[in-house]
Symmetry: C2
Subunit: 428 residues, 2 copies
């Protein structure tokens, strides 16, 4: 299929600023050309009107727990440990495959509506998540969350994790890739970490985990191992594999050096970190130290929603606060974390993250003619500091339109909402 | 005119939670009844479908500079002093009455679209702002920003400020009220402050100012007066008048006691404070100390937009971070700051801020059936942690619909956007 996005402003690479008026040509799964507006004269299977819009590379949500959209709004305003132990885990024990399927579809539909084209998900009943991703049309890195604080629990967990990798790696026309997910330093034993890392190496897939989310985690790991969580994982050999480490709120300088030296990605989840009072991650320090910093929402149960435009805004605002410098993380840098750096996190840095001929045609068309982005001196500033998720007009993944005129093309939104409301009754 | 909002969920008072299904009757300018759903059987001039929506008291933006919407996106990412001195003030010197008129209309339209029903504005060319408010239909507290760091500049400034009060107090059917605005501790001399306070007392209107926005302000005032800004204003007798003090980021315990003792309002502007790296205001400490804390956006040039739902969210998130307690500022409290406490700030605490028979019919109907607020266990949590400005469906002020089905009823949105884009060319 060939698509022309006509007369749109374009951000080809987040660091390069905005081309004010262009025709963008998609041929099959890839961008073919970015021409001066009016430059595309051939016939196309579909023409999308980009007038008054801004086309940016697809937003990558580099850390979430998709199906937790089903728990959105439950048990709010609690600290992470009590929230998990008293509210979330008891409900997760009641989750069925069906709940995860519909909860995942809810999360997927919400992400499409808000401009996310790719994401890294860690959860369970992952076959259901895979099925949902196949239908939705997004790009995903899927992993099963291995929870085995004592060594005797590791065997069945690893088996499940490996099954996921065997079943889903490369599925959905290559849109689905997989990872191993030892859940967090505190929830896996040293043995579990070593064996998960060995499996990741053997299967040539990355590791997706939580790291240094709370001060308590850092203190407990230090008490048990005399190391910081990052030091401990390095000692276990985990960083010899590509690592996607969510949160990274409480890092030492040495931890930052470890992440940078091994090419690991830190996924900044600003809303979740504030909402659970975990802290503010040292984004500037990580970027200066050479760490690849991506952005994520975390699950909607902790963050409230799966809105990557909002995460960009909050990341930009918090970086200024933490650095006491209004120049910290300007809009282009925030967008880069949500696009190019997210693509790198998913191991797709050469395929995704920019709008250039030959790159995969993942992109988000954002309507920039609302009152709240007028008069429009600086579209990148308006995108990051003022645009809303509902401004997203169209979404493409691999050249396929998942959203057009704000309407999801691949899923039945009303059915998803209805099913989720019904399933939600069991979790009140 | 009589209006029925049919079958909506309602927050009557932010502290009381949600009535899941009700008929809300507006008669003339006031709420007449809140009935069980299906309870309203008479004829109404207008019936608004509230199915799938949440009706909340009108949001009050207690500190803004409306016409600065015309500067949105300009000169981003600079510290407050350089931003003002090098970027904003030179442009403000070029502003004409016409610019302020259209810039104000842009801000007003944006506020209506996002659910704001009342606001406190401090700027200049205030006759133009008043005209724009008359047309838009919002409720406003208008003031002229008095800037007179040296005593010889005070005379013409006070004259302008007083003219505004004489001309506009009680205008637009009582929707417009006025205040005196010595701009900030650093930008008015002691003499200017005393004389402005005397005029406010004489005219029985409040004072609207900036207070303790940056550390530099606190340090400079302390160097000059040996007092904190709040102590200094107290010594000058300013707090004997109702005071609306924007920002209040850097307050001592004693400052908080001063604000509380005099019944002053602190207006928390979280986005602006982060964006300019001013800091995070001690909201929990102020509330615990008995200060009336309202919310504001500040101008769109500093904050990016005039989105009160976003300010609620950010206020709730930052309070948790600052207090290291996820229980800090729960959704109902954040909404209370944006409604009841905002109404108190504007001196209208007995008329506005709740949805109860006899109260002024200011209200916001928010669509709560989007993907991002599904499944909907807790509408207040969904409103504060997930809803977007564009979810606002209808807005009423004094029983008059300013927005219906997301469409502004009182202003020509396309003309406003077109004019503002044209005027913006001079400010690039």
């Amino acid at each position: 299929m060939s698509i022309l996005v006509r007369g749109t402003a374009v951000v080809q690479r987040a660091e390069d600023g905005v081309v004010p008026h262009a025709d963008v040509v998609i041929e099959g799964r890839r961008y073919e050309a970015i021409l001066p507006s009016g430059g595309a004269t051939e016939e196309f299977d579909r023409v999308v009107d980009g007038e008054g819009c801004l086309l940016v590379p697809g937003l990558v949500n580099a850390h979430t727990h998709l199906a937790m959209a089903l728990f959105r709004g439950l048990a709010r305003d609690l600290p992470l440990d009590r929230w998990l132990a008293n509210e979330i885990w008891p409900r997760e024990r009641k989750l069925t495959a069906k709940d995860v399927y519909w909860g995942s579809l809810l999360g997927l539909a919400e992400m499409i509506r808000g401009g996310t084209t790719a994401f890294a998900d860690m959860y369970f009943f992952m076959d259901e998540v895979g099925r949902a991703v196949e239908e939705a049309g997004l790009r995903a890195l899927l992993s099963y969350g291995i929870i085995a604080p004592t060594p005797e629990r590791i065997e069945p967990e690893l088996k499940r994790a490996e099954e996921l990798v065997r079943t889903w790696e490369g599925a959905a026309d290559g849109r689905i890739r997989t990872a191993f997910s030892p859940h967090a330093p505190l929830t896996c034993s040293a043995d579990g970490w070593r064996r998960a890392a060995a499996l990741a190496r053997e299967n040539r897939v990355p590791i997706h985990t939580h790291l240094a989310e709370t001060e308590q985690e850092v203190e407990r790991i230090r008490a048990e191992t005399k190391h910081s969580p990052a030091e401990w994982l390095e000692e276990l050999g985990v960083f010899s594999i590509p690592v996607i480490a969510a949160h990274c709120v409480h890092l030492s300088e040495k931890d930052i050096e470890i992440l940078a030296a091994h090419g690991a990605t830190a996924v900044h989840c600003p809303t979740s970190n504030l909402k659970l009072a975990a802290g503010i991650a040292p984004v500037q320090e990580m970027l200066r130290g050479g760490v690849n910093v991506a952005l994520g929402t975390d699950g909607a149960a902790s963050a409230g929603d799966l809105n990557m435009i909002e995460e960009m805004r909050l990341a930009a605002l918090l970086a200024k606060h933490r650095a006491r410098d209004p120049g910290a993380l300007p809009p282009g840098e925030a967008l880069r974390c949500a696009t190019t750096r997210g693509a790198i996190a998913l191991g797709l840095g050469k395929e995704l993250g920019t709008i250039e001929p030959g790159r995969r045609a993942d992109g988000v068309l954002v309507r920039m003619n609302g009152l709240h982005v007028c008069p429009g001196y600086d579209p990148l500033a308006d995108l990051v500091y003022a645009a809303q998720g509902l401004d997203v007009e169209a979404v493409f993944v691999d050249g396929r339109p998942l959203l057009l005129k704000g309407e999801i093309q691949t899923l039945d939104v009303d059915e998803i909402k209805g099913r989720c409301r019904q399933l939600a009754r069991r979790f009140r």
